[in-house]
């Protein structure tokens, strides 16, 4: 293949390049700059609104949700990735599609679905009542919503890597006398290190940023179900712009860092 040399754009290329730069910088870069300026213009106001309106509490809750999502996603996703990549069975195709569903479903609909399921007359309402768990407008609802929207990341990463590396290393371990558990711990898991890292980053970003589902399911109750994103929403509605901008900047900064930690190519597979 002829090597590709990037050259300075000329003619038609210059026009297209200029348009692309304007588009991307104008759409993403300038607004980010504007937010920085807005927060920088009144830092004291931003901090005081963040503190007094319960912003720190909301941010803490979001971080707890993200950690939860990583743990649940890591365990079920590794399991699910292995099932999808390694096993052939009836219903696998359905499972395969179902795993990707959270990428396609609007967050509000996710919230609505759980409200219907656990709300008055819902299929699982009796179960939740029997267990003494309050799902709606309570922490379990936030957990459910977050687990749902983060579902695909670990499963997909794990399945992809397993399909790529194939089974020969695992087979080699078996012929050397390793039990299935030893194969998993000594061969499969180390192969998945990269996938689990990417899965973690994507899951954290998604969990921190989830809004629609936690709003509908949690109700954004201050001190109980308020998350970082619903805090921004509440602040906007209550005309506490400084608090909203401050939290937005925190979220933007955190997600920018997460994206930068991702290897190129792993960012938009989903």
């Amino acid at each position: 293949m002829t090597p590709r040399h990037r050259t300075k754009p000329q003619g038609f290329g210059l026009v297209v390049t200029a348009a692309a730069i304007l588009w991307v910088v104008g759409l993403v870069g300038v607004p980010l700059g504007a937010l920085l300026l807005a927060v920088g213009a009144e830092p004291a106001q931003v901090v005081s609104e963040l503190v007094q309106q319960g912003g720190l509490d909301a941010l803490g809750r979001s971080i707890v949700l993200a950690v939860f999502a990583v743990i649940v996603g890591g365990v079920t996703g590794t399991l699910g990735g292995i099932v999808l990549a390694r096993q052939r069975f009836w219903g696998r195709a359905v499972l395969d599609v179902a795993v990707d569903l959270p990428l396609a479903v609007s967050p509000v609909i996710v919230g609505l679905a759980f409200v219907i399921l656990y709300g008055r007359g819902g299929w699982l309402e009796p179960l939740a009542t029997a267990l003494g768990v309050k799902v709606l407008f309570a922490t379990p609802g936030l957990f459910l919503a977050t687990a749902f929207v983060c579902l695909p990341f670990f499963v997909r990463e794990v399945a992809l890597v397993l399909e790529e590396v194939g089974t020969s290393e695992e087979d080699a371990a078996r012929t050397l006398g390793a039990s299935e558990w030893q194969v998993f711990v000594w061969v499969t898991l180390p192969q998945l290190r990269g996938a689990l890292r990417v899965g973690t980053l994507l899951t954290v970003a998604r969990a921190l940023g989830e809004f629609g589902a936690v709003l509908v399911l949690g109700g954004a109750i201050e001190g109980r179900t308020q998350t970082a994103t619903t805090f921004v929403h509440t602040m906007m509605e209550e005309r506490h712009d400084a608090g909203a901008f401050g939290m937005s900047l925190i979220l933007a900064a955190m997600t920018v860092l997460l994206v930068q930690a991702l290897p190129t190519g792993a960012r938009t597979k989903h």
Binding site: R6, G13, V28, S106, T255, R267
Partner: protein
Amino acid sequence: MRASFGVWICALVALPMLAVLARAADGGLSGAWEAITRPAALHALGLSFGLSLLVVGIDLIFGLATAWALVRWDFPGRRLVSALVDLPFAVPTLVAGILLVVMLGPQSTLGGALAGVGIDVIYAWPGMILALCFVTLPFVVRAVEPVLEELDPAEEEAARTLGAGEALIVRQVLLPPLLPALAVGAGQSFARAIGEFGAMAVLSGNVPRETLVGSVYVLGEVEAGDSVEAAAVSVVLLVVSIIAQLVVSRVNQPWGRE
């Protein structure tokens, strides 16, 4: 193992989705139809479709241009542009809405100036379109980029030595291998746009029959306690985005998985 994973997926994904379907059908088919065809609902759905299609169109043009610029040309700030393209993928969409409000809202310099000449951006269609472009920005670029990267420049050169003009090269040599990637990017963008909620909630103004989109309409119905209406409209959005998603996964794996 497969059984426990299957149960987990059923409980977490399938059951909730079925619950939405069941609730939508609570008032019978005619009830669901009536819920969807209520003028406010119809307008919200129509707006979501229209804006999403428009945004996919914009994405295709600018996404292709951006990918081409990134792959083909060397220009100052190339890495910055590349990094910026990835951001909307991770930045919460609600924050995306806030960003545009800060830049173009009525209190901002730019927004004030535009309002002065009679152009409302925020709480109006232009802002909504920009917000959807923001949240869907990476998809077409990142779908097309690897394909462009792999196109052998020799093919282009071969066409040129055979006397082909630029337009012919674009149509016959460059475009055909790009079509599947463009379809994937467009499908992902469309699915994302049709369900977009966070950015719309803060920046569309949410005026029924004007700037209220489908997802925010669903929220309104949930808050009003009408879960049947909300479910009916949701089913329409669900079906459309799932179709878009299926198209993406089909095109993505032309060689099949088995």
